[in-house]
Amino acid sequence: MAEKPSLLSSGEIKNDELIKIVAQAKKGDDQALESLCRYIYGRIYGYIYHRVRQREDAEDLTSEVIVKMVKALTKQNGNFMAWIYKIAANTIIDYQRRLTSRKETSLDELTIDLPDKKQSMPKNVLTADKLKMGIAGLTAEQAEVIALRFLQENNIEETARIMGKSVGAVKVMQFRAIKALRDFFRKKGYQI
């Protein structure tokens, strides 16, 4: 009997281990499928959360992505993570289309206020809350590149593959996104 690969729900797994688990899940191994779902949930949730900025919505959308993945798993070919991120990106696009009544906020129009400068919060420390507000001011593509590259820790090639762009284009996009984020925090008086 083939040895089952170990998988921690919250831990990182190596690419070859992931390939094995995906192959077993495709063959109908329930345990492998459950492990895969747990792992993917953990990876995709963060990505979706930083794009939609609502915990409940992020949970619903992640769940939707997992269901789509399970339904289409047997037809999957090529890079698995790129495929999953593509499903997630499309799910987010569908979600954003549903929210037609919500007006898009640009960096200049952003009305969310950060805590007052006079408060005792350290000005050079980036917190998740600050980041959430900062990302809200980025364009959709910039937010995606920040989420994929820095928060999901994909390398530049993986990010390019997921976004369907060239490596060069992603490098430029990432640089501009970081600059836009820095400008946003500087405007708000943070020493970043």
Partner: protein
């Protein structure tokens, strides 16, 4: 060539990720230090943010959905292959429906056009179908049979479309005579009993054409009189040839048999 700042930024991110100190990295690019330093600091802070952990309840809820889907997929009765294929491929259904419609329309059009006469909008369909049938027949005897059938068709059409004192359809008359000639040539090329049988059929058609032309000649348009005379004469001569077995076209096998094709060809 000097690398672009975006390239430098990416290479420095990789260096830092590998464990090199940011200060050391920036020494390689002093001219960009002012711009890159805050961006690298921000990137490092982004990387250092605690990972978002989903709520356990949300994960369990998603997993229970997955289990339900897997259960439903397994419980679903297996459909026969063809039915499954059709169900899974609406494109296949559309393609099949289109093919059926095209075939039905084609078959209906051909059937409907079978009785059409020259001048009718369906007549080209009839001729097209005849051509297709001819091109799909590859044996010499089959082709000779088709020429006989087409000669009959043209004779019938000539008879039905004839109006007293109205000029004849010369193209139809020519086509009728040419089909008979082709049938005769085809039959001559064959050997043995098959040739004799076909020659007999050609002779019958030729006789029918001659009698048809003779019937319409007295009431035909006066201007067509000469053409009809020629055509009747041609049929008579061909009948002679067929009876005697002397020639079909330009092979003057007998003194009594004079090839009249030049006259007919002038009508084209």
């Amino acid at each position: 060539m000097k690398p672009k700042i975006e390239e430098i930024f990416e290479s420095l991110l990789i260096e830092i990720q590998k464990g090199r100190r940011m200060e050391d990295c920036l020494k390689d690019y002093p001219e960009y230090r002012a711009e890159l330093e805050p961006l690298l600091l921000l990137s490092c802070q982004l990387n250092g943010l605690p990972k978002l952990e989903p709520e356990r309840q949300a994960v369990e809820s998603a997993l229970s959905r997955v289990r339900r889907i897997v259960y439903e997929q397994r419980e679903q009765p297996k459909q026969p292959f063809l039915r499954r294929f059709v169900t899974l491929h609406p494109v296949f259904i559309r393609a099949a429906a289109t093919i059926v419609l095209v075939l039905l329309a084609g078959w209906g059009g051909i059937s409907f056009s079978a009785q059409s006469l020259p001048g009718n909008i369906f007549y080209p369909v009839k001729r097209l179908a005849e051509n297709a049938r001819y091109n799909l027949t590859f044996t010499p005897d089959g082709r000779a049979e088709l020429h006989i059938a087409f000669a009959r068709n043209r004779t019938g059409e000539l008879l039905k479309s004839f109006r007293p004192n109205v000029t004849l359809d010369k193209r139809l008359l020519n086509s009728m005579l040419n089909e008979t000639r082709s049938a005769q040539k085809g039959a001559e090329k064959l050997a043995g009993a098959k040739s004799l049988v076909l020659m007999d059929k050609v002779e019958q058609v030729n006789r029918w054409q001659k009698s048809t032309l003779e019937d319409i000649q007295p009431i035909a348009y006066a201007g067509d009189s000469a053409i009809l005379c020629n055509a009747i004469s041609l049929c008579a001569q061909r009948g002679d040839c067929l009876t005697r077995g002397c020639c079909s076209e330009c092979r003057y096998g007998s003194e009594a048999c004079v090839c009249p094709w030049e006259t007919i060809c002038a009508w084209k």
